[in-house]
């Protein structure tokens, strides 16, 4: 497997696959600066003017909704995911092993199943009206596992005796949390929260089943693509969305690495695969 020829052909193949992965992202980034409102390749004139138009368009309302939904869903996921992780990592009880499996279901099952299930339950059975809160319920459901995975991994690598030591030294529950638990968990929470936010910010399929008339940013993009309207504005929004989803993930990677939790390559992969289990559905 290590002959020169096979090395070179593997390197060339890898380069081609990476080009395949990145060229569409580069193309869409370039279109954001296309002066023309006709979507043709190659781009002949460049301009920033569509950024201004996009800022003044109805995409801004969609952005606000996306940010609100992302914040509330991430907040709920942080609280619920951390509680579940603490229970699973620190206690033994019946059915403990199946908790991880249960929590990953909303992401592991095809998006239309999660969307359709929530749609039937929320609207048909409970008779709720579609609102920002029904979108939040959907997003929080699949965001919990991101926080859970990060926190469980962190708790498994830290000793429970730290907490007992803190109590023996006379700290009350809040002090133990503030000075012992929080420093241990903070980077895992930040990383899990960033991933959860990135996932919520990008989600389309489940959202189309749980939203009514209100549009999150991805729904706004989808509607406008389907109607073939304001393509230059879509380009700018697309560029913006890629930037906004990529930055939290890059930060999350960095936070996990700098915390010294990931020391060897193998551990890094486990972490990344845990994070990647979590598709941007």
């Amino acid at each position: 497997m290590t002959t020169r020829g096979s090395r070179i052909s593997l390197a060339v193949w890898s380069g081609l696959v990476l080009a395949f992965l990145w060229i569409p992202l580069v193309v869409i980034a370039l279109y954001a600066f296309n002066a023309s409102n006709i979507q043709g390749w190659p781009i002949t004139h460049w301009s920033f003017r569509w950024f201004r138009v996009a800022w003044d368009s109805d995409a801004r309302g969609a952005l606000e909704l996306s940010l609100k939904v992302g914040a509330v869903a991430t907040g709920s996921a942080l609280v619920l995911g951390t509680m579940a992780a603490a229970a699973v990592a620190r206690f033994r009880f019946f059915g403990r092993e199946s908790i991880s499996f249960l929590l990953v279901l909303p992401l592991a099952l095809p998006g239309i199943i999660t969307g359709m299930a929530l749609n039937s339950a929320l609207f048909t059975v409970w008779g709720l009206a579609p609102s920002m809160w029904t979108i939040v319920i959907g997003h929080a459901t699949f965001c919990v596992v991101l926080v859970y995975n990060n926190v469980v991994a962190r708790l498994r690598r830290t000793s429970a005796s730290l907490i007992e030591a803190s109590q023996d030294l006379g700290a009350d529950g809040w002090q133990t949390f503030r000075f012992v638990v929080w420093p241990v968990l903070s980077t895992a929470l930040v990383a899990g929260g960033l991933l959860a936010f990135a996932l919520s910010f990008d989600e389309v399929i489940v959202t189309t089943f749980t939203a009514g008339a209100q549009a999150t940013l991805p729904i706004w993009i989808l509607d406008n693509i389907r109607q073939g309207q304001q393509l230059p504005v879509i380009n700018v929004v697309a560029f913006f969305v890629v930037a906004v989803t990529v930055i939290p993930v890059a930060l999350a990677q960095r936070v996990m690495r700098d915390s010294g939790i990931i020391r060897r390559g193998a551990a890094k992969v486990t972490e990344a695969v845990e994070a990647a289990e979590i598709p941007a559905v």
């Binding site: 990476l18 359709m116 109590q167 009350d172 693509i225 695969v273």
Partner: protein
């Protein structure tokens, strides 16, 4: 607990109460576990598992053809409709399965050499860089990546520009099943690369040396040592590529043509007008994934995650 007792007598009342509470919880760990676990578990069971149950149940109801109001009478009518050969549904399910299989195979072929290069040939720094280069497209907006392909495949898009540059004629790829296959393979590719990389990275060098010491050539080592050990990673990756294709309706909607209707499109189109039929059709990918996950577990895919 000695310090605890001393602290109980000193300090303001609030602190004493807090100490008493944390001491109480420490002596009754099951209470703490219950308190930690019940809110998330209750929320999850009610909201999600409850919803899945509702999905199954409502697939046995019907919708009034005129008012779309749901009639709560038990019937197999939806399933009879789906499995009737006079209807397009079986054909659509077949096309969806074929597409999922084709995409999974394509991604395996594209991903394996890259994962192999990352795991066994590249240096540490290169591997770290390649890793980020695979991870970022995975996380960047999936909708935007589909949209990017819509513009690339369009008649005056980048593909035809490149083909003309090479002196080749235009291809009408936009809005075809081929376009759908390309875009599906593209958006799910990172989900295949990462688990295969993880599996390949875990193979100890000594296994490969042992195989070479025993006189195996490169191709034999690959067939008898590397491939079997990478298999759980490939299966793990295929769970994603397969499930995600089964559950998607955006890609066919944006880059597919008139004959590119998948299970997801039918579910989405019927969700308002005939919810029970949509629910019944959504249980098909649920069943398929159930079987797929059982097979994957036997092949050791869950250990590879």
């Amino acid at each position: 607990m000695a310090a605890d007792a001393g602290a109980l007598e000193a300090g303001p009342p609030i602190r004493r109460a807090r100490l008493r509470l944390s001491g109480f919880l420490w002596r009754h760990p099951w209470l703490k576990a219950l308190g930690l676990l019940s809110p998330p578990l209750a929320a999850f069971l009610i909201l999600y598992i409850g919803s899945l149950a509702v999905l199954l149940i409502s697939s046995f109801w019907t919708a009034n053809a005129f008012t779309a109001a749901i009639e709560h009478t038990w019937t197999l009518a939806n399933y009879r409709l789906i499995f009737s050969t006079a209807q397009p549904y079986l054909h659509i399910a077949g096309l969806t399965l074929e597409m999922a299989a084709a995409v999974t195979l394509t991604d395996a072929i594209l991903a394996f050499p890259l994962a192999f290069f990352m795991a066994r040939l590249a240096g540490r720094r290169t591997t770290a860089m390649l890793f980020v280069m695979v991870l970022l497209p995975l996380w960047s907006s999936y909708l935007v990546r589909i949209y990017a392909w819509q513009t690339i495949l369009a008649h005056d898009g980048a593909i035809n520009w490149a083909l003309n540059g090479l002196g080749l004629p235009d291809q009408n790829l936009a809005y075809t099943n081929t376009a759908m296959w390309i875009v599906f393979s593209y958006v799910w590719l990172p989900f295949m690369v990462l688990p295969v990389y993880a599996a390949l990275e875990r193979i100890p060098d000594s296994y490969i040396e042992a195989s070479e010491d025993l006189g195996a050539r490169g191709s034999r080592t690959f067939r008898s040592v590397i491939l079997p050990l990478a298999l759980p990673g490939l299966v793990a990756g295929s769970i994603f590529t397969f499930a995600l294709t089964l559950g998607d309706y955006i890609t066919p909607l944006l880059v597919g043509g008139t004959s590119s209707t998948l299970i997801g499109n039918v579910v989405y189109e019927n969700v308002a007008s005939n919810t029970p039929l949509a629910a019944a059709f959504a249980t098909i990918p649920l069943l398929i994934m159930g079987v797929y996950l059982l097979i994957a577990r036997r092949l050791g895919a869950f250990e590879a995650l």
